[in-house]
Structure formats: structure tokens, C-alpha cells
């Protein structure tokens, strides 16, 4: 586990349980400093000696609970109440997002369809170009063989051109298969991911 992962997991655990922003930031500052004081390149070692971020978070949360308990027996319940609005806010946030998405669908649906259509068209055009090139190359090659005895000079030129065409097409097609196809798949995946992320609340990364 590296520094970023440790801090991110710690931040998520603390926020999830409704610790105030001030306390969360203080804890993150402290642990970030520990990582830096321990020395560059010792991230994994340091993280191990600190224990799992979730356990660390538990300790911090418990300490906050205990402290409130000590000063006033009733404030413990307010601490629990503090958790509820935080959770409510995030869930109503998601609900609001979904409602907005549904309402605005006449706008985004055509856009999404257009993007997909364009990507598909792009792919088809490339394939069609490749196909046309192959077919014409083969045609030149075949006609070259046909007129071999009537007009040898022309025939040799045709065969040569046809072979060159076939060779070029072979290389282009191969690069399409090895480069463009995975990129296309990745692009489609990314698009789906982006759409999915709107619905599913993302895990926040610790910002740097």
C-alpha cells in the first residue's frame, strides 16, 4: 500500500462515519506528515507500521466519541445525530442527480446516440476503405495475369501494382486490428464508465 492509497482509504472511512471536516483534515495532515518524515521511498514500510487505514479511522472516531462523552453525557447522542444529516444529504444528492438525468434525457440521449453513431461510422469508413483497397489491388493483380500474353509490359505493371497494393493493405489492416480496435473498445468502455459514474456515487480520491 502506498501513501496515496493509505490516505484515500483513511479519508473515506472518516468521512463515511460523519467526522467533521476539520477533524478529518487534521488527521490527514498528521498522517501525510508522518509519511514524509519517515522518508521518501519508505511508503510501504510506513503504511504497514501504521496499521490498516480502517483501524486507524476507528481509533480516531472512537477517540472523538469518548471525548464528547467525558465532557457531557448527552452529547454522545448529538454525535450520532450528526451522522444522519450527512448521510441524508449524500443520498438526496444522488436522488437529485437521477431526477435531473431523467428530466434532461431529451438533451443527453440524442447526444449519446450521436457520439456512438459517429464512432461507429468512423470505424465502418476505415473498414470500407481497407476493403476497397484490397478489392482493387486484387482486381489489378488478376487482370494483370489475364493480359500476361497479350501485352506483357502492361501485365507486369499490373501485377506489380497489385502486389504492392495487397502488401500495403495487409500492413494497414494489421495496424487497424492491433491499434484501432482496442482503442475503440476502450473508448466505448470509458463512455459506459462515465455514464455509470453519474449514477453510482464515486469513491473520492484524496486530492493532491
Amino acid at each position: 500500500m502506498n501513501k496515496i492509497e493509505f490516505l484515500t482509504r483513511l479519508k473515506n472511512s472518516l468521512e463515511k462515519n460523519g467526522l467533521s471536516k476539520e477533524d478529518t483534515d487534521d488527521a490527514l495532515n498528521y498522517y501525510e506528515e508522518i509519511f514524509m518524515d519517515a522518508g521518501f521511498g519508505k511508503d510501504a514500510e510506513t503504511a504497514e507500521s501504521l496499521g490498516s487505514p480502517e483501524m486507524v479511522a476507528e481509533g480516531i472516531l472512537r477517540e472523538n466519541g469518548i471525548e464528547i462523552n467525558r465532557n457531557d453525557g448527552f452529547t454522545n447522542s448529538t454525535n450520532i445525530q450528526q451522522n444522519i444529516p450527512v448521510q441524508k444529504k449524500s443520498s438526496s444528492d444522488t436522488a437529485l442527480k437521477i431526477i435531473l438525468l431523467v428530466i434532461s434525457f431529451p438533451i443527453w440521449l440524442p447526444l449519446v446516440i450521436t457520439v456512438f453513431a459517429l464512432l461507429f461510422a468512423f470505424f465502418v469508413v476505415i473498414m470500407a476503405l481497407g476493403f476497397a483497397f484490397v478489392v482493387s489491388s486484387i482486381a489489378v493483380l488478376v487482370s494483370g495475369v489475364q493480359i500476361l500474353f497479350e501485352s506483357p509490359a502492361l501485365a507486369l505493371m499490373g501485377i506489380g501494382a497489385g502486389l504492392i497494393g495487397c502488401g500495403i493493405t495487409f500492413f494497414i489492416l494489421r495496424s487497424i486490428v492491433t491499434f484501432f480496435a482496442p482503442t475503440f473498445v476502450k473508448l466505448v468502455k470509458k463512455l459506459f464508465g462515465a455514464v455509470k459514474r453519474i449514477f453510482v456515487k464515486e469513491d473520492k480520491q484524496y486530492e493532491y
Binding site: D23, D26, A27, N29, Y30, Y31, E33, I34, M36, D37, A38, S49, L50, G51, M55, V56, G59, I60, E63, E67
Partner: protein, 110 residues
């Protein structure tokens, strides 16, 4: 066998370290490790508690292009530390009286 260190003792030791001179989290842990097996994760709640109870205060000082948080003892912290030290001596004497058989006189007085 190791004797467990409780929160009060840890508080006292941290106050004592900071009283010597202002210092930062990582260094405090290194110092404590001379005596007890402790990680930075154990120290954090201690520092936070001392800070919230106004026994320690913090300030940031630049160190190699970043800010490092230093801890400084307050007057209240100093008073508390004196109390803790007295309590500790008391406690230590009582324990020693039993553990090291030093308490014959005390026992007779009761």
C-alpha cells in the same frame, strides 16, 4: 512480559517530551519508542486529545518546502504535567513497595 501503558501515562510522557523542546509527531514517536512499543497511529489520538484539552498547542513551521506541525506545551499543560509527575512518583512508590518488597515500613504504619 510487557506492562501495558495506559492513556494517562502516555499523556504524561508526551507532555514531558514536548516540554523539553517543541517537536513534531514523527519525532515524538521515535522518542517514545525508547520506552514503549508504540506506532504513530497510537500517538495521533493522544496528541489530538492534549490539543483539544489545551495542554498542547500547535504551530506550523516550514521544513524543506513543506509545513511541519510543531507542538508546544501550554501553561495549563505544564501545570498538568507537574501534577502527573507527582502522581506518578506516588504510584511508583506504592508499586515498588509491593513489587520490590520496599514497603515494610508503610505496611506497619497501617
Amino acid at each position: 512480559m510487557t506492562f501495558p501503558i495506559n492513556a494517562g501515562l502516555l499523556d504524561s510522557m508526551v507532555l514531558s517530551i514536548v516540554q523539553q523542546n517543541d517537536t513534531y509527531g514523527y519525532e515524538i514517536t521515535q522518542y517514545l519508542r525508547r520506552a514503549v512499543d508504540i506506532s504513530e497511529s497510537t500517538l495521533y489520538p493522544v496528541l489530538r486529545r492534549l490539543q483539544k484539552n489545551e495542554l498542547l498547542e500547535t504551530y506550523d513551521k516550514e521544513y524543506m518546502g513543506r509545513n511541519r506541525r510543531y507542538y508546544r506545551i501550554t501553561q495549563k499543560g505544564f501545570d498538568t504535567l507537574s501534577e502527573y509527575r507527582e502522581e506518578w512518583l506516588n504510584h511508583k512508590r506504592k508499586i515498588d513497595s509491593i513489587l520490590l518488597n520496599e514497603g515494610v515500613n508503610g505496611y506497619e504504619q497501617n
